[in-house]
Each structure stands twice: as structure tokens, then as C-alpha cells.
Symmetry: C2
Subunit: 278 residues, 2 copies
């Protein structure tokens, strides 16, 4: 089993509305819960009650298509509203993410980090030290995990920032993006946020765009290169992911969930279970 660490702030944690996009279930994609693996179900993160769709689910689904005989585990450690300083060496969020990752690594091989952060630093000239600080974060994680070559994918900030709602104060997103680009290289790959759209709050990437963003993250990860523009075929790739037939285990999972949630009664559960188990 392979695993991927997810760190950064709210757009990595995910705030896209779950009801806006088809769900992704895949028994080969898991997420860390209480130090163990469970089949992925969104929201993957739980940092806030508003957690929703981030880039990780479609990233994992694209990875799984290319690696059908392997499992991928997601380690959710992004924290809404966190600044670059809060991800520095020996900071609480970093230490907690490392602790979680070490639980994951007891049963998986860590193959990468997905990073998205910077909204909180897009003001008051903070960008001036951003590249240096970001590099230090990555150096710290690689050192602590004893994986000096660990691939890291960095998502750019979207250009809807700085305009309205909770995004209003993030006026220096373009400067942050310019600094991020300086950190690319050395197994760090940059991913464009071109054409991504916001929730009504003006700061969070919406669910549909997060799905597309995840496809870009995967493209950068698998091709080991920067993705400097939107890909032409994101929606086709997503259609293929959404169109995948559910396996027997996935059907049983969803049926059990519906019964647990009171959506079907016990008789219906047993009937459907018998059909699936046939």
C-alpha cells in the first residue's frame, strides 16, 4: 500500500459542497482514521464542520486508474486558516501531521505530499519571505520523514482571491504564486489554479473545480513536471472516474451506510444484500 500526506490550509482540507459533484468511492482508496485505514468517504478532512470536497479524492481516483492492483491511503492533516509560519519546523501542526504520517507509514509506503496553502499569507507583504519559508517547511518534512527525495506537489492560489467575501483580504495571491514557483524543482512540482471557481464565500474553491484541480495534481505527480495551465481533458477524465462501476465491496459499504442512516429498513437491507452477495 502507498500513501500520500495532505497538508496546507482550507483549500487542501476541502470546502467544496459535497452535493455539487458525484461521490467517489473506491475500495482501493483509503483514508487514515484513528491511525488505521478506512475506505475513503468525503469529507476526507474533518478540521472544521464545513469540510467538504478538496483535491485529494479525484487525485486518488486518477492514481488508482493507473495503479489498479495497488491501494492508496490519504493522510488528512490540512488545517483551515493556517499560515506558513504554523507549518514551520517543530510547530504544532507540523508535529501533529508527522505523528499521523508515522502511524500511516507503519502500514504503507509514503510516496508524496500534496500541498495547498498561502491565502493567509497573501497580504501585508508576507510574500517577501514566503519562498524561503515554504522551502524550509518541505525540508523539515523530508528530513523528519527520512525521505529526502519525497515528491511534493504545490497548487497555486486561484485568481478569484482578493475580490469578495472571505477572499477579500488575500490581495497578494499573485505575489505568493510567484514565490511558490521559486520552490518548484528538486522533486517539487507546481500546479496551475487557472480557471478554478469559488464558492460564494470568495475564498474556497468549489467542488467541481476541486475535482479538476485534483486531476492536475495527479498529472504533475505522475509526469514529474509542472502543470502550468488547465488541462484540456479534465472533465473527460472525471467522467471516466464517475462512470467506474462499483465493486461488490463498495456496494455492500454503501448499502450498510444507507441502513445505518435509516434510509432503508432492515428487510430492504437484507433483500439488497442478498442480491449483491449473489
Amino acid at each position: 500500500m502507498k500513501s500520500i500526506l495532505l497538508i496546507g490550509q482550507s483549500n487542501m482540507a476541502g470546502r467544496g459542497y459535497l452535493s455539487d459533484v458525484p461521490a467517489i468511492y473506491n475500495e482501493n482508496i483509503e483514508m487514515l482514521r484513528n491511525g488505521r485505514w478506512q475506505m475513503m468517504a468525503e469529507p476526507i478532512h474533518f478540521d472544521r464542520e464545513v469540510a467538504g470536497v478538496g483535491p485529494a479524492a479525484s487525485f486518488a481516483a486518477a492514481w488508482s486508474q493507473d495503479n489498479p492492483d495497488e491501494k492508496l491511503g490519504l493522510i488528512p492533516c490540512a488545517e483551515g486558516g493556517s499560515s506558513i509560519d504554523e507549518w514551520g519546523a517543530d510547530q504544532l501542526l507540523s508535529r501533529h501531521a508527522l505523528a499521523e504520517t508515522k502511524f500511516a507509514m507503519a502500514s504503507s509506503e509514503l510516496i508524496g505530499i500534496l500541498w495547498h496553502q498561502g491565502e493567509n499569507d497573501s497580504l501585508n507583504g508576507h510574500y517577501k519571505n514566503y519562498a524561503k519559508k515554504l522551502k524550509a517547511v518541505f525540508d523539515y518534512f523530508r528530513k523528519e520523514l527520512a525521505l529526502p527525495e519525497l515528491p511534493i506537489v504545490i497548487g497555486e492560489l486561484p485568481d478569484f482571491l482578493g475580490k469578495t467575501g472571505f477572499g477579500l483580504s488575500a490581495t497578494e495571491f499573485a505575489e505568493i504564486n510567484r514565490e511558490m514557483a521559486k520552490v518548484a524543482g528538486d522533486n517539487c512540482y507546481l500546479v496551475s489554479a487557472e480557471k478554478l471557481n469559488a464558492n460564494p464565500d470568495g475564498i474556497h474553491i468549489n467542488a467541481e473545480s476541486q475535482r479538476q484541480f485534483g486531476i492536475r495534481y495527479y498529472e504533475a505527480f505522475t509526469q514529474k513536471r509542472n502543470i502550468l495551465h488547465a488541462l484540456g481533458d479534465e472533465d473527460e477524465q472525471l467522467s471516466k472516474i464517475y462512470g467506474r462501476a462499483a465493486t461488490k465491496n463498495e456496494k455492500i459499504y454503501l448499502l450498510s451506510r444507507d441502513f445505518a442512516l435509516g434510509r432503508i429498513d432492515y428487510q430492504k437491507f437484507m433483500e439488497k444484500f442478498a442480491e449483491i452477495a449473489e
Copy 2:
């Protein structure tokens, strides 16, 4: 700030339907997220996508009424479907719960553990070793946390088990309860599950009953005694909790949440914000 560790299986994690009961928000009640504290919002646990209402929220609300000048932090580490063996010394779930608790203890004083578990051991004569194993779990946690006198509240298994749905196989719940009673004493207090009702799945305590159960847990905790029956005034206590007026901070939290979820637009958000801030 004080804190409470929540461990056990799904009925501690909570599977009551959120929509069945009034929400509880209180700026003096927090929950651990990424090693830090956030204002409590249910579900407190996130072990499964079906996580919902457990006993902890009403426990905390009752505690907060008696301790208006202090904060309480909840540490959610219960795991759906876990057996008593999985909570033994050096087991993964135990080690993970201890790791989380140590993050919490950096900024709080741990004052107790709430425990609910046993459904998974209510068959095939497993009860025969249950008291011994349960005692060993508590000894291990107290030793590792260097708190030999730490109060622990143990909730009994409800009598709707063993009858239908996912509860069908848990036929030996009465035997498990008998064994639990042997562990009471030595700062461990037993709480009755009398008159608690199930979700349609026949194994999970419903939301209304979880709220009542939480009141009983608090009564045992604060009075340092076993609660062997339903209390007469649980619903009155809950009415008082539900009737508490929201503070300014709580109003701003809920308003921001509604804006983030797209339930209100930016203009409405700003208008309401101005009203609250007045």
C-alpha cells in the same frame, strides 16, 4: 482548560442522527482537531462517514453549566467496530489515542475518560474475560498518562441489543454489563443504559437517547458514583441546555458557517455581522 478523552466503539463515537436533536454550540466547549482546539460542532468524531451524535456533547454542556468560567476540550478517539482486544496495551488504537491525548495535554488538564464499548464482545462467550481485559485497558491508559487516579466513566450496553439488524449478534450484552460492573470502583463509575432507544439498525443509540446518556455520564462524573437507573430529570436538563442563549462569538461562528456553506449571500452576511457586532 480541562479535557476529557473519549474512547470505545461506535456508540461513543456517536451514530445518532444530527437532524433528530437540537444542536449544541458553546464557545466554552472545544474539540481536538489537528492537535489543536476548535469550538465543538457535531459530529465530534469522524471515524466513519456515518458519525453523528454521541454522549459527549450533552456531557460537556452539563459540565459547562456547572463550570461557567472554564473551558472543556473533548478528545475524540473512539473507533467504530473495535473490540476490547484492540484497546489493549500497545495496540494501535490505544497508542493513537494516547498520542492525541498528549497533544491535548500540552494545553489542558485531562480530568477524565468516557468509555463505551462491548457490542463487539457480546457473543461467543467473550464476556468471560471481559472484566479482566477492561481493567487492563484502564490500567494501561492511566499508567501511560501518568494519572493513576484518573476518573473513568463506563456506560452500560443498552437492552435493545441482540434483537435485530446490526445488533442481532450482540446477544450477550447482559453478561458484558455484569462484567463491567466488576470494574466499577477505584475512580471508575458505571452508568445505566436503561430506557435508551436504537436507530433502525438495532445497534446504535439514537440521538435523543445519546443526549440523555450524556447527562447520566456527567452525573456519574460529577457525583463520583454509579448511576444505576435513568435519571428523572434528563429531559429537563436538556431543555435548559438547548434553551441557553447563544453568545456573540457563537453567533458569529454560526453566521460564518452559513456563509461558507452558501446558505446566505455576502450582503446578508455583512448585515447580520454588523447586527451581532453592535
